[in-house]
């Protein structure tokens, strides 16, 4: 009887958003993670989880330039060692199956991190995890050898050497410069046997995952069906995986709500698409998980373009945009609190978050434009015979991008700035517009991590020597770089690191290159009963604990 009552109540808890909840006042602030946590005893052994991927990767080495994609990370974290796993509060802890401990054992003269490996940890080819694997990964990702086609060198660049410790199974990583975000390194760890040589690093992981060491192993990578099937690995030395099988399947975003409703997949990340949310949530046995995730939406202004090279014009654009209205439009129908994001590094709910945004002030925008020499003639502003018109480039079919463009256009017209909206195919957005700089304003999402200072460095660092990294605004200052670098190297003093990051953020607002809009909601519709997976927020799932609770 009790079970039935519970079941009858459950749909009320997951009532579809919008519509019925409008009179209830502002929706509550979502938690940092919502994964339906359940102790292992309550999770049934067996079952198949059908998990959609946004695309079907070819390169399964996530550290390779072609493999640095969310789909690759999602899959390989089930089969490769994840040494440190972040919890909901974005604190990374050693995973006991791989590490007995990991800590900074020395700060001076050089930072040393000592890892004590679990002696039971073995690769599927029989070798033990060891110093060779650490050394190979550190060397490949150091950027010293260009034959390794790496996606990023952040963190690994700072490593001076990797050596065996005094006790067996001990690995000492010595940093040339202090590096505060060392917990983000070596997760996942790739085996030296298949990554030590540049050729293996680049080619051994195309269309296959040759060696594993995790709760699951790869049963089949089917390129025709675009599926990856993982099965429970009996050689796993930890607590056995609850699920029999995980089937990953590449599906187009537009097909996801239908596939979920047709019971072909068990979870769907609806992002900010209210229509997808309502369709998926209406399916029988659906449950909605919501978390305030690490990702954030923003507008990047291209400071290399003639009009926007003037910081006053960029500040005018910032002041003329009513971010609250933009956020309200983007999040309409999601039943999500409207909170414009006021920081470039830290999202609300994380320690160190401070709203440093200037206020919405169209009058100030007009004054700034006047001061910059752009005079109002009729409805447009001109200077030296040129009209102030900005090109807003947006990808076709991405929910939210079009309202952002249309509202930006209306708001900027209000202060005399014309906006020319260009819709381009999604696949072309970065390759043909953002990276070459053929835009004035572009909206997209930065994927957040638990380590903002190091992860976002490439987005804000001053472009040097033709290398943009990911600074698509094409502008930075030495002061911002210094603050970011000092924050990243403030190992062992989180308060100081936060203060430095806050300083970098305030400097960024002054340069007015990247306008944060909102912390992107993480809304995941799952099959009811799915436990220990959902809206993960900052946390990373322990794949062996994922499963379905007993009905």
């Amino acid at each position: 009887m009790r079970a039935r009552t519970l079941l009858a109540v459950a749909p009320l808890l997951v009532a579809p958003p919008g519509g019925c909840g409008e009179a209830a006042g502002p929706p509550p602030v979502p938690p940092p993670a919502d994964v339906n946590p359940a102790p292992r005893a309550e999770v049934r052994t067996g079952g198949t989880l059908r998990w959609p991927l946004p695309e079907f990767p070819v390169q399964w080495n996530v550290n390779h330039a072609d493999g640095s994609r969310s789909a690759v990370g999602t899959v390989v974290r089930a089969v490769l060692p994840v040494l440190m796993r972040a919890d909901a509060r974005a604190v990374a802890h050693p995973v006991p199956e791989y590490l007995l401990s990991a800590r900074v054992t020395r700060l001076r003269p050089r930072q040393v991190v000592t890892y004590r490996l679990n002696p039971a940890a073995r690769w599927s080819d029989g070798r033990r995890l060891g110093v060779a694997d650490f050394a190979a990964q550190a060397r490949a990702l150091s950027g010293a050898d260009p034959r390794f086609r790496v996606a990023t060198v952040t963190g690994y660049r700072q490593i001076a050497r990797v050596e065996a410790g005094t006790a067996p199974g001990e690995v000492r990583v010595v940093f040339a410069r202090p590096y505060a975000d060392w917990r983000g390194l070596f997760s996942p760890l790739y085996p030296a046997s298949r990554t030590a040589a540049p050729d293996a690093f680049n080619r051994a992981w195309t269309n296959r995952i040759p060696v594993t060491a995790g709760p699951f192993r790869v049963a089949r990578i089917d390129r025709m069906q675009q599926t990856v099937t993982l099965v429970r690995d009996s050689a796993w030395w930890g607590r056995p995986a609850r699920l029999d099988r995980i089937v990953f399947r590449a599906l187009d975003g537009a097909a996801l709500p239908g596939a979920f409703a047709a019971d072909e997949i068990d979870l769907i990340d609806v992002g900010t698409d209210a229509a997808a949310l309502r369709r998926a949530a209406a399916a029988p046995s659906a449950a909605v998980r919501r978390a305030a995730g690490p990702d954030w939406r923003h507008l990047t202004l291209n400071a290399a373009r003639p009009a926007l090279a003037d910081v006053r014009v960029r500040r005018a654009v910032f002041a003329a945009l009513d971010r609250t209205a933009l956020v309200r439009a983007d999040l309409a129908g999601l039943d999500w609190p409207v909170r414009p994001l006021g920081n470039h590094f830290v999202v609300p709910g994380r320690p160190g978050y401070r709203d440093n945004a200037p206020p919405y002030d169209p009058a100030a925008a007009r004054r700034l434009l006047d001061a910059a020499g752009w005079r109002l003639h009729g409805r447009h502003r001109t200077r030296g015979g040129r009209t102030l018109v900005l090109r807003f480039v947006l990808p076709a079919g991405v929910p939210g991008a079009k309202p952002e463009a249309e509202l930006t256009r209306a708001m900027l017209r209000n202060v005399g700035i014309g906006v020319d909206v260009r819709i381009v195919p999604v696949a072309d957005l970065f390759d043909r517009y953002v990276a070459p700089g053929a835009f004035d304003i572009v909206p997209f999402t930065w994927l957040g991590t638990a380590f903002p200072a190091s992860a976002l460095r490439s987005a804000f660092a001053r472009p040097s020597g033709g290398g943009l990294l990911q600074n698509y605004a094409r502008h930075g200052t030495a002061a911002i770089d210094r603050a970011m670098d000092r924050a990243a190297s403030a190992a062992g003093d989180p308060r100081r690191a936060r203060a430095l990051l806050d300083k970098a953020d305030r400097l960024l607002w002054r340069e007015a290159t990247v306008l944060p809009l909102y912390q992107r909601p993480q809304i995941v519709v799952v099959r009811r009963g799915l436990a220990n997976l959902g809206a993960n927020g900052f946390s990373e799932p322990a794949y062996e604990d994922i499963g379905f609770t007993r009905p």
């Binding site: 209210a274 439009a329 309409a332």
Partner: protein, 274 residues
Amino acid sequence: MTRRLPGNRRTTAGAVLLTALFLAAFLGPLVAPWDGERIDYAAFRAPPSAAHWLGTTQSGRDVLALTLQGMRTSLLVGLLVAVLSTGFAAAVGMTAGVLGGWADRLLMFGADLLLVLPSFLAVAALAPSLGGGPGLVPLIAAFLWMITARMVRAMTLSLNRRDYVRAARYLGVGPVRVVVRHILPHLASLLIVDAALNVSLAILTESGLAYLGFGAQPPDVSLGTLIADARAAAPVYPWLFAAAAGPLVLIVLAVNLLGDGLRDALDPAIARCS
């Protein structure tokens, strides 16, 4: 005369419907409470209400106003393409038929060349460089004239051999005058019907291109872009989809009724059969 009534009735129905749609598209904005450019910051993706009769989009734009704007784009594109392509077809077909010889071969070779091109793909490839909406008119027209031109040429050839045309020639009337005085009047019915049918073809082509992202660029809208925007949300927010798809169906229906009716009314051979 009585036998032609079915055709006439369809003509009337089509003409009335089309006139009503035209009036709605061009005079509707005078009555509608919002215009398509204005943004209602208090209503993002609101369902139909007294303030917004067909609701609003996610950007707070009034769906009714957008639909009327889209209808204007689509109707204009349809009419312009029809006039252009049929006019061009008539000119090419008659020139080829009257002049004959190398001019005939050259023009028909051009027509055949365009016929074998996959026209939709070609238009889609060229569309981005022309901008959307009205910019597409010459492009769509360029791929609609070939078959009509061949028909016009064939009819011109047969008309050219008629006695009164020959007589006019022998009396020293120039080719231009022969065409205008003696050939064109006989082609009128064919051209009118062809133009009417081209209207709906053009509207559908433009909508298809807009749906794929090659049509009108914001803030301009056409029915195709509205349908594309509403498609993903159609099961959940049906009013967005219906507001765009409904008028498209009605316009194409009206134009086809008109075209069919005119063909029946003007072509005695078909009228007898029906």
